[in-house]
């Protein structure tokens, strides 16, 4: 009995428990109002809404873990998508899967620039990436000549990745997202480098004293965030069938940050898990799918995302405070 309550306590005290409970409660409330919500079909729609957020969210999570923020991912996504789209359009003989490499590489390069400026000049990442957010968007207008890449240029097999499925009727694009999440989990939890990201975020002063090279790890984190946003860019072309310089990826960063923060990743660095982020992403996806089902105007979405960020910050704060309090009590006992 005692061990059972202890186990229960252990599970409930994990950060992911809160978001999982929220997700379940939300689904119950919505399906009580509109029973249609609780169906496999809804699950499919939710899962289709989130792969881009999930992929970019893995990168943003690593950035937050290292106690930084990357506001430029929306522009990186747009930039990579445009470059890949233009390659599809202007180099028709190129094999279509090459687009993945182009987009990921472009994203990684842009992310590396972010990391280089942040580490080289020791600047706050939020201001630097606010700058590159508009810098990248501006350059993408220049290189694309402000022209949209129209649907007929996006390769059929790429578009089909969002529609056809290898097994269980789950589209390829969702498999890609889940694979990225799995790799991120292994990387963060089971490699030395992954743990070093946590170490840097938990205590940036102590990390170098423990022999961790902060600069290369920080560079890596920003590069990964950029690369994943780039990958999300080519999947944008797959999912939506076009790339538009003034639409693709605009405001994407706020959605991703909302998802990651809701998933229990602390903005103070060092705290957060892949599972939590996945749940956070699914929660936001469920909210955006539930709104039209409930007959609520889609205009509510941004307000809800904003409120969700603030609530998540407050929860994170109270969890941290009670953690500190119980630790002090235990130390005294």
């Amino acid at each position: 009995m005692n061990s059972l309550t202890a186990a229960l306590r252990f599970i409930l005290l994990r950060r992911e428990a809160g978001i999982a409970v929220m997700l379940v409660l939300f689904s119950l409330v919505v399906s009580a109002i509109e029973p249609r919500f609780l169906s496999l079909d809804t699950l499919r729609i939710v899962m289709l809404a989130v792969p881009l957020i999930l992929i970019a969210g893995m990168g943003q999570m690593m950035v937050l873990l290292a106690r930084h923020v990357d506001l430029s991912i929306g522009s990186i996504l747009g930039f990579s998508a445009i470059v890949a789209g233009m390659a599809f359009r202007d180099l028709p003989e190129m094999p279509w899967w090459f687009g993945f490499f182009i987009a990921t590489f472009v994203g990684a390069a842009l992310g590396l620039v972010n990391g280089a400026v942040v580490t080289l000049f020791r600047l706050p990442s939020i201001i630097v990436t606010l700058g590159t957010l508009s810098l990248y968007r501006g350059v993408l207008f220049l290189i694309s000549d402000a022209r949209q890449v129209d649907p007929q240029y996006i390769p059929r097999p790429l578009i089909e990745m969002s529609q056809t499925s290898p097994i269980f009727g789950i589209p390829w694009i969702i498999f890609i997202a889940l694979t990225i999440a799995l790799i991120s989990y292994v990387f963060l939890d089971h490699t030395r480098l992954g743990r070093q990201i946590y170490a840097i975020g938990s205590n940036p002063v102590a990390a170098p004293l423990r022999g961790i090279s902060v600069v290369p790890v920080t560079l890596l984190v920003f590069t990964l965030s950029g690369a994943l946003a780039g990958l999300a860019g080519v999947l944008y072309a797959s999912r939506f069938g076009y790339v538009n310089p003034s639409i693709t990826g605009v405001g994407f960063e706020f959605t991703v940050i909302a998802a990651v923060v809701v998933g229990g990743v602390s903005i103070n660095g060092g705290v957060g898990t892949v599972l939590g982020t996945v749940l956070g992403v699914i929660f936001l996806g469920a909210v955006s799918v539930a709104l039209p089902i409930l007959g609520v105007s889609a205009f509510w979405r941004d307000a809800i995302y904003g409120a969700v960020i603030i609530i998540a910050l407050l929860i994170d704060r109270s969890v941290r405070e009670s953690g500190i309090r119980s630790a002090t009590l235990e130390a005294r006992a």
């Binding site: 957010l133 706020f254 995302y305 960020i309």
Partner: protein, 332 residues
């Protein structure tokens, strides 16, 4: 040289006093001023329009709204915090103004509603940052999404217009040959400049930014001052929102969308230190004109608005790097 001279080693220990011209030139504001002159010269080579002060004043009205918010943001950043939600507060307060007027209330009531909403939004930010001790940088990312989201909820995607004719077109109303938005900007700059540079409160703001804990121990009411600054941000944003509503003769939820970049850029170009404790209103004042000259110059040179983002983003990064280097040199 007699033997009463000071030992050589002691002379070497003391750093030589920097000549006054050097300390002035090393201030980032001086850099802003030099850039302003260079930009004006460059722009007037580009187009004879720039020799015309009336043209510059007219162009300034398009940016005066961001510049007014930028002035208050300067104080917020000097005090060691940041507020990225200014543009969203502009949009929400302007939409509240439009909704209230459309509901049949007189325009004075609508203006009051907008100003009160500014106070409320600023206060909301302050509560989250000060009462709940959350980092302002992330809090205001949350509230910027929230405020603009609420604006979208109350205004939908239609634009609210049909304001009375006397309210519309404040940028074409002149007092002393100056457009009213320019006057508002100058008055706010003067007031904040005096507060920051000439009062105890101003020194306290610098002290909070240098070390909030030390300031607290020195008996400065840190929380009260920071709360006041966040509320000031809200009020300045709602004034800017009203000016924009008057200039455009309509409001929409996407008013000033993405303008957090321009606001932060004006402050950073003016040489305010991103980590707090240093900066000046005169710098922000000059930077606002610099930004206007650069942006208008690009428009005259037929560079599309979207491509101008490249330059603005680059300027933001360069200006924080430059300011950082200057301050780290003069820190000792």
């Amino acid at each position: 040289m007699s033997d009463t001279s000071i030992p050589k080693s002691a002379v070497q220990d003391a750093a030589p006093v920097r000549p006054r011209w050097k300390t002035i030139l090393l201030r980032p504001e001086a850099m802003t001023f030099v850039l302003l002159i260079l930009a004006t010269l460059g722009a007037s080579l580009l187009s004879p329009f720039f020799a015309d002060i009336a043209y510059i004043l007219e162009s300034f009205t398009y940016y005066s709204e961001y510049a007014i918010v930028g002035l208050v943001l300067t104080l917020v950043i000097i005090s060691g915090e940041i507020d990225l939600s200014g543009a969203a507060m502009m949009a929400l307060s302007a939409c509240l103004f439009g909704i209230t007027y459309q509901a049949g209330y007189p325009i004075s009531v609508a203006i009051l509603v907008s100003l009160i909403s500014g106070v409320a939004m600023g206060w909301f930010n302050a509560i989250l940052v000060i009462r709940f001790k959350l980092p302002s940088i992330i809090v205001t990312i949350g509230t910027l999404t929230l405020f603009r989201g609420i604006a979208q909820v109350i205004a939908g995607d239609r634009s609210i217009s049909k304001f009375p004719s006397w309210f519309v077109g404040i940028d074409y109303q002149y007092v002393l040959n100056l457009p009213i938005p320019v006057i508002v900007f100058c008055v706010v700059a003067l007031a904040l400049g005096v507060i920051l540079g000439g009062t105890v409160l101003g020194r306290q703001i610098y002290q909070i930014g240098t070390s909030a804990i030390a300031a607290q121990h020195a008996g400065i009411r840190v929380n009260r001052i920071k709360t006041g600054l966040f509320i000031g941000m809200g009020v300045a944003s709602s004034v800017a929102g009203l000016l924009t509503a008057s200039r455009l003769a309509s409001v929409r939820y996407d008013l000033a969308s993405g303008a957090e970049l321009q606001m932060v850029l004006i402050v950073m170009l003016g040489g305010t230190y991103i980590f707090g404790g240093r900066g000046s209103i005169i710098g922000t004042f000059l930077a606002a004109w610099l930004l206007v000259i650069i942006a208008t110059g690009m428009t005259v040179a037929n560079i599309p608005i979207n491509a101008q983002l490249t330059v603005l983003g680059l300027l933001l990064i360069i200006s924080i790097i430059a300011t950082n280097i200057i301050y780290s040199r003069t820190q000792r």
